[in-house]
């Protein structure tokens, strides 16, 4: 009897030991698995485009954890892409253009993510045509944010005249975040206009002149005056000759 009791006790101890060994192994495996999940990084690709669907090159992209810790910050490449790897989790993706947030979105990363960010960046086309007719090929354009009173963009130099089927217009396009702006164009004189940019817009400056545009305008005026002069003097001559003929007869 005594020996069978001892045997049962040994079996119970052995079972307990085996159970402890198995559970401890499982726990450690579970712990390592969870650890691996927390350390796993997933690829995140982001394409930044503006309101017209054109790539935003050099836009600043930041990715933060919900708590606010910065995970990634970088500039988009020439085709508007950024590519990075972030651990699985919840993030806030923000795109900055000229220091202004133009895109913000919360993102939960569980696997590889490819996302297109359509940013609130609009095209502002500045057309400089003297009297809406003669293109001004050189000008100095200054764009000031009316709210912050800061110069956000400026351009000085030759302005392109894009090919159009029925118009001739000197145009420069800027890509700006939504907001209020004052645009000043300077050449021989200057002209300013204010606008609230909330979409793609076109602004025409008709009272800015350059030497070339003034020369063209003067040529057109001179042609018109000489045409009138030609018609008037031609008719006068006829009248005189007819009178002369009548007198001669």
């Amino acid at each position: 009897m005594g020996s069978s009791k001892k045997h049962k006790e040994k079996v119970r101890i052995a079972t307990v030991l085996i159970f402890i060994a198995i559970t401890s192994n499982l726990t450690s495996a579970a712990c390592s698995y969870l650890g691996r999940i927390q350390d796993a990084k997933e690829e995140l690709q982001l394409l930044c485009i503006d309101a017209k669907g054109e790539y935003l090159e050099g836009a600043n992209v930041t990715i933060r954890k919900r708590g606010g810790a910065l995970v990634y910050s970088g500039l988009t490449n020439s085709t508007g892409w950024i590519s990075t790897s972030v651990p699985v989790g919840s993030y806030i993706v923000q795109v900055y253009w000229m220091g202004v947030v133009v895109f913000s979105k919360e993102l939960f990363v569980t696997g590889p993510v490819t996302m297109i960010a359509q940013c609130d960046v609009y095209h502002l086309t500045v057309a400089i045509n003297l009297l809406y007719l003669i293109p001004v090929r050189h000008a100095n354009i200054i764009i000031v944010n009316t709210t912050s009173q800061k110069v956000v963009d400026r351009y000085s130099g030759e302005i392109e005249i894009p090919y159009r089927f029925f118009s001739l217009s000197a145009e420069k396009t800027f890509r700006l975040p939504a907001g209020n702006y004052t645009i000043t164009v300077k050449m021989l004189n200057s002209q300013s206009q204010s606008l609230n940019l909330n979409g793609n817009k076109r602004l025409t400056f008709a009272y800015v002149a350059s030497l070339g545009s003034i020369f063209t305008l003067m040529c057109i005026l001179a042609a018109v005056i000489s045409c009138i002069g030609f018609l008037v003097t031609g008719r006068r001559k006829t009248g005189k000759s007819r009178n002369a003929n009548i007198l001669a007869i």
Partner: protein, 278 residues
């Protein structure tokens, strides 16, 4: 020789000095050589129509005489258009747009013909080409319609040596006389049963002999008589006096200014703003 002959009218253009009209024609020629796009050519065309209306040209007569030239320009333009497929043929028009194929005729690498297609750029090229030829023909017609030959001869006698000027004038004066004489010879030959309708080229060449010889004889005879007449008038002894003197009136000066300013503006816009460039 000309599509429309001179008509002595008393219009504002007819009264102008031929130099003024040459300035207009020169400016127009310069613009036609520069512009490869149809849009600015419309301005040039309007300018030409304005001058034509002032000259009182008969547009119906012009169309009836020059229709074949317009049709030939259209055919020529269509043929050239098929080969306008190369992006290097365009500087200002976006090359993607210009070389957008509407109908492909032969694929790239086709022997002899090469790549041919109808493209947007080809259509622009074709329209501009037809417009340029049309404008040039109408301008030449307005010029010959409003400038008498005597004015032209007195004009070049101002710049050329008088002997050369006499040769040129005689040559021009000879043309209508010889054309009339040739027609008389052909009519006379036809009345004697002369026929040139044979399809055999050798027979056709042989059939021309009875026409050629009398024409050459007539030409030599006419030249001889003219030389004799010139000699009798002591031609060559000293510089002959001019029959007419060309004077500039204020109307001429205004007309020249008008043309110079229009041409100057359009040349400036072409050079600096790319107006009319492909």
């Amino acid at each position: 020789m000309v599509l429309i002959e001179y008509e002595a009218k008393d219009t504002i253009i007819h009264r102008l000095n031929p130099v003024s009209k040459i300035v207009w024609l020169g400016g127009l020629g310069l613009l036609l050589a520069m512009y490869l796009e149809p849009q600015p050519l419309i301005i040039v065309f309007a300018w030409e129509v304005f001058i034509g209306c002032l000259a009182g040209i008969s547009w119906r007569k012009l169309l009836s005489r020059a229709w074949w030239a317009f049709v030939a320009s259209i055919f020529g333009g269509i043929i050239v258009m098929f080969w306008v497929v190369n992006p290097e043929q365009f500087w200002r028009v976006p090359r993607d747009l210009a070389c957008k194929t509407l109908i492909q005729l032969t694929p790239p690498g086709t022997p002899i013909l090469g790549h041919t297609a109808i493209t947007y750029g080809g259509l622009i090229w074709f329209t501009a080409g037809v417009l340029r030829i049309t404008i040039a023909i109408i301008a030449a017609c307005i010029f010959t319609f409003s400038v008498p030959l005597s004015d032209l001869t007195s004009l070049w006698s101002m710049f050329l040596p008088y002997k050369l000027s006499f040769i040129l004038t005689s040559g021009l004066r000879f043309y209508p006389v010889m054309a009339e004489k040739t027609q008389d010879i052909i009519t006379a030959a036809k009345s004697r049963g002369w026929d040139i309708t044979s399809k055999n080229p050798v027979k056709r060449v042989k059939a021309i002999y009875p026409i050629i010889f009398p024409i050459v004889r007539e030409a030599a005879d006419l030249a001889n008589r003219m030389a004799l007449a010139a000699e009798m008038r002591a031609f060559g002894v000293k510089r002959p006096t001019r029959m007419t003197t060309l004077k500039f009136t204020p109307s001429d000066i205004f007309f020249i200014m008008f043309n110079v300013f229009i041409t100057g503006t359009l040349v400036y816009l072409w050079w600096f703003c790319g107006l009319g460039k492909l």
